[in-house]
Each structure stands twice: as structure tokens, then as C-alpha cells.
Symmetry: C2
Subunit: 214 residues, 2 copies
């Protein structure tokens, strides 16, 4: 066989693990649940990915590099489009958010699950320290640099606080808790990422200007 492609059993294990980890967290999921969801014996997950912790890492890393490189490309493309002139705040933020929007709307439910998993990792005091530095923190550095160019008089700490707010707003959106559906009586939908991102860009741009502007 040697089939590790799309739809293979090892991929199905990753997909199911991704969905369950995103919903219940690392400790809320058992190897047997994952195996059952993938229609596979428990031992197979161990055979392919080692221990439960390694499986968790495998799930997280599978799409981390992909997403991170999309972000890098989006930021580069945005810089090119500005053609030498400094990018506007809105352009920078848009470039930062675009890959997430694309992933969400790719049609692949795996991406939606992954972004919910990312929100779980971002907000967890434990996993954050372990998983965020390796891949995502570097991209944030580039983003912060771009922001500094657009806000030349900003203090470093002001920018970082504002970045934390963006990060939090984003995480809660990716988490898909369904709370906005409830609070707005169905006027807003957690699943409506177009609306989420369209509102987020002017919101955080104005926030940055208010805190870091001249």
C-alpha cells in the first residue's frame, strides 16, 4: 500500500484528532475516541505517531508551517503592492488576517478545526509556551516590524499591547464558541467569517491609531 496521501488511515487519524482536540482539548480526548472516529484500531495511532503527546504535536505541526508561510507571502505581497510607499495600517492588518480567512473559507473542514485548535493553543497557559514560539512567534515579529513602519512614533510597549488585543479578538473568533450567535439573537453568526474579518480590520486599525498614533 504505502498510501500516506489524502484519505489514508494515517491522515484520517490526524483529521479526527484535530477535530476532537480542538473541541475538547488535549486531556479531554482519548486515543480510543480518536481511533474509533477514524475507524481504526487504537494501536495504529501509536504505530504511526508514537505517544499521545507526539500525535498532538503532529496534528499541530501539520498545518502550522503552511499557515505561517501563507502569512509571510501575504505580508510580502502587501509590501510589494505598496510599491515603496509605506503600507497603510489597514493593509498590514489585512495581510495578517487574510490567510486565516482563506483557510476558514477553503471548504476544507480540517482547516476550520485547525484554527479552533490554534485558538485553544493560543489561550492555554500551558500549550502557548510550548507550541507558539517554534513557528508562529517569528511571523509576529515581522508583523510588528511592519506596524512600526506604519506608526513611526509608536512606543514598543504600546504596539505590543495592541497586538495582544488583536490576537485575543482573533482567537475568540477562531474558537467558534457560538457566543455571538446567542448574544445577538442570531443577528451575527460565528460561522460568518467574512463579517468577522470585515469588522475586525477597521476596529483594530482605529485601535492602533488611538493608542500608537501621533
Amino acid at each position: 500500500m504505502t498510501n500516506k496521501g489524502k484519505g489514508s488511515k494515517s491522515q484520517r487519524i490526524l483529521d479526527v484528532a484535530e477535530e476532537l482536540f480542538a473541541l475538547h482539548g488535549y486531556d479531554g480526548v482519548t486515543m480510543r475516541q480518536i481511533a474509533k472516529g477514524a475507524n481504526v484500531d487504537v494501536a495504529l495511532a501509536n504505530y504511526h505517531f508514537g505517544k499521545k503527546l507526539d500525535l498532538f504535536y503532529a496534528v499541530f505541526n501539520r498545518r502550522a508551517e503552511v499557515l505561517s508561510s501563507w502569512r509571510r507571502e501575504a505580508l510580502l505581497a502587501s509590501r510589494e503592492k505598496a510599491a515603496g510607499k509605506p503600507q497603510t495600517l489597514e493593509q498590514i492588518i489585512e495581510a495578517f488576517l487574510l490567510p486565516l480567512k482563506v483557510a476558514q473559507e477553503s471548504g476544507d473542514p480540517g482547516w476550520r478545526n485547525y484554527l479552533a485548535l490554534l485558538a485553544y493553543v493560543m489561550t492555554s497557559p500551558i500549550w502557548n509556551k510550548i507550541l507558539m514560539p517554534e513557528v508562529f512567534d517569528k511571523r509576529v515579529g515581522e508583523f510588528v516590524e511592519a506596524l512600526k513602519s506604519a506608526l513611526p512614533n509608536a512606543r514598543d510597549d504600546d504596539i505590543h499591547w495592541c497586538y495582544q488585543y488583536v490576537s485575543g479578538a482573533l482567537a475568540l473568533t477562531l474558537a467558534q464558541t457560538g457566543r455571538i450567535d446567542r448574544l445577538s439573537d442570531g443577528t451575527c453568526l460565528s460561522s460568518d467569517f467574512d463579517a468577522a474579518y470585515d469588522h475586525m480590520i477597521p476596529f483594530v486599525a482605529a485601535g492602533f491609531r488611538a493608542v500608537c498614533g501621533d
Copy 2:
């Protein structure tokens, strides 16, 4: 004995459970860990609080009503202070955040743990649906009404999206992940709630105006 006051064994169980649940989540904590942390037999936690799930609810509810009433009072006090005139956006947001700041800086480490637990519940797709409606969602309704008064031309959905961003920014701050310390090379500290709230108020006020303003 009949001592259920501060420092009693049942209170110690709640305190330890609060800290561990906030750090590791519901499934990441065992009854035996809690008992050990409280220097108490496992069976005692069951005797006082019933099943593990009931203990979790007891931990969450212990401070939920307190915090929620503080919020109500802060909003009322802010409205009174405005003396008939419509409150400014900043005043409304300040009233919304003030109780959390007070709790954080109360010196009681239990409150810091509880707010991290609140962040965990807010961002969890599972617990959010179960625990947020009962106490906190109602207070949000009052907050949204106040915002509508300050932003008379705002659309309902705009306000709710903006509220979600505030909620996310707040949750990530309460979660105390330590990420801002890392990203800013120590310039900003997760534990510095004064800075967190002082930056957050102008940030979200400007965001609201940009999205919901005239």
C-alpha cells in the same frame, strides 16, 4: 467544627481546584491532584461537592455572582456620575472593565486564578455554552444597551461584532499566557494589569467609533 469559612478544608479544596482548573482545564486535573494540593483525602472533595463536574460548577459559581454584581454596580455608578447626560464610550468601557481590574489587583491570588478560569470558559466551545448564559450573558445585555445609547446610529450587528473583539482581547489578557512577555522581550508583562487596562480602553473605544460611529 462546622467551619466553612476562610481557610477551612472545603474552601481550600475550592481554591486548589480553581487554580488547577484554570491552568490545565477540566480534563487536565484529577480529583486526587486537587485533594493532594489541599492536603486532604480524595473522598472529602466528593463529600463536600459531589461529583467532579459539580465541583467544577461550584468553583465557577463561587465568584461568578460576586463579579457580575460588581459589574452591575460599576455600570450604575458610571451612569449616575454622568448625571443624565449620555455616558461617553470610554466611561462605559471603563465601567465594564473596572471590576476585573479590581479583582486582579485585590491581592487575593484566588481572584487571579478565577479570572484565568473565566478566560478558559469563555474560549472553550464546550464550557462557554454551559456556563456563560446563566450569569454573565445578562450583564452583557446591559453593557450592549449602554453602548447603543452612546452610539445611537450603530447597527446591532456592528455592536455585537465589536463586543466580541473586546471580549476576546479581555479573555487573552485574563488568561495570563505570558506570550506578551516573550514577544516584547520583557518590555510588557502579563501580570501588569494596569498597563493592560489602560491600553485597552482607548483601543476598544476607538474601534467602536470606527465601526459603529456616525
